[in-house]
């Protein structure tokens, strides 16, 4: 079973997106803050296949989580679920994929499977 670290400071978003992902047979580990995500990555980074992260987390930026993921979960792909239409995301930040918040879940799922396939074939960021 693929494991997703879902990092979002919105309780509603974690609950609903997490439920949709679980219905797809994925194991979802929620993190409500940058600090929680950092703890999860330190404890079990290697066990994650995908990290889905919001940009604004109250105690930090999702983009600042990327170096930690690369170090502690080198096999995981990082998807930014952005509520900011890229306007607050630094242009030099490298996510494996970026999806605007509110995008149809089918699109999110398709992109996630594409990342997982790329991960299995050993492909890096586009």
């Amino acid at each position: 079973m693929k494991r997703i670290l879902l990092v979002d400071d919105s309780d509603s978003n974690r609950l609903v997106l997490g439920s949709l992902l679980e219905d797809e047979g994925l194991e979802v580990v929620p993190a409500a803050s940058f600090a929680q995500a950092r703890e999860r990555l330190a404890a079990e980074g290697g066990a994650f296949d995908i990290v889905m992260v919001d940009q604004h987390l109250g105690d930090g930026l999702g983009s600042n989580l990327v170096p930690l993921v690369r170090k502690q979960a080198p096999g995981a792909k990082v998807m930014l679920i952005s509520g900011s239409a890229d306007e607050d995301v630094a242009k030099d930040t490298v996510f494996d994929a970026t999806v605007p918040k509110g995008r149809d879940f089918g699109d999110v799922l398709a992109l996630m499977h594409e990342l997982l396939a790329r991960s299995q074939s050993g492909g890096g960021a586009p």
Binding site: L17, G83, D88
Partner: protein
């Protein structure tokens, strides 16, 4: 001098951008949760008898989704402020923007703070000069406030390879690393009566012109705010 602030217009627009951006972000979050919840309900109920027998259920589900999409469309920032302000990016002297920013900084008149400008290098950068000037002024005013209006504040512009770096340094209390991201978000402030938009405005403007913005600590423990912009190469000489 007629006492009019030459940056008043661009500052109003920058403030409006911070307000609208914060609202867009909050509303998008809510819409996303509602849309995903609607998707979950559809997936769970679409094969049930209720969904099949009452045509209003799938119709209303479709209505919820289409209304959420329409609401999301209203959040598109494009052209929102176009009728108020038009940007004109051009090749300008970075040092000139620094000096203009300091000249127009609103830092009190009773006991003028010490603001030292050092710009040993100059370079041309591709920006709207009003916006870069405003960004630097925000940082200068922020730095002076951090020193209780006294200074000293240092504003330094220098070349670093193909980048031009502007650093505004104060001797205030600084911002600890764990709180810097918070400090760069709109409406975060520890100062009563302040809106807390100076740092976000500077960051937004730096990023708009392919630059970067960062906060650090000065040798005295104060704050260093740094804007880093690509320099604009000279036009190719025609043969």
């Amino acid at each position: 001098m007629d006492g009019r602030d030459p940056l008043d217009g661009v500052e109003r627009v920058a403030f409006a951008e911070e307000v609208s951006s914060a609202m867009r972000h909050a509303v998008r979050n809510k819409l996303a949760a509602a849309r995903n919840a609607a998707t979950y309900i559809q997936r769970r109920l679409s094969k049930t008898e209720a969904w099949q027998s009452d045509a209003r259920i799938p119709t209303f589900h479709g209505l919820i989704e289409s209304e959420l999409d329409a609401a999301g469309g209203l959040l598109d920032p494009k052209d929102t402020l176009a009728h108020v302000f038009t940007r004109h990016a051009e090749r300008v002297s970075a040092s000139r923007c620094i000096r203009e920013a300091v000249a127009h900084a609103r830092v009190g008149t009773d006991a003028a703070p010490s603001v030292r400008v050092e710009a040993p290098d100059d370079a041309e950068v591709m920006v709207d000069p009003r916006e870069l000037t405003l960004a630097v002024r925000c940082l200068v005013e922020n730095a002076v406030e951090a020193t209780q209006g006294k200074g000293p504040v240092s504003v330094r512009g220098s070349r670093d390879g193909d980048r031009f770096v502007i650093e505004v340094t104060d001797d205030g209390p600084g911002i600890e690393e764990s709180r810097r991201e918070e400090a760069m978000r709109a409406f975060f402030t520890t100062k009563p009566g302040h809106a807390g938009v100076g740092l976000p405005i500077a960051r937004r403007i730096a990023r708009r012109y392919d630059g970067a913005f960062a906060l650090g600590t000065s040798p005295s423990g104060g704050l260093v705010a740094r804007i880093d912009l690509p320099t604009s190469p000279l036009p190719a000489v025609q043969p």
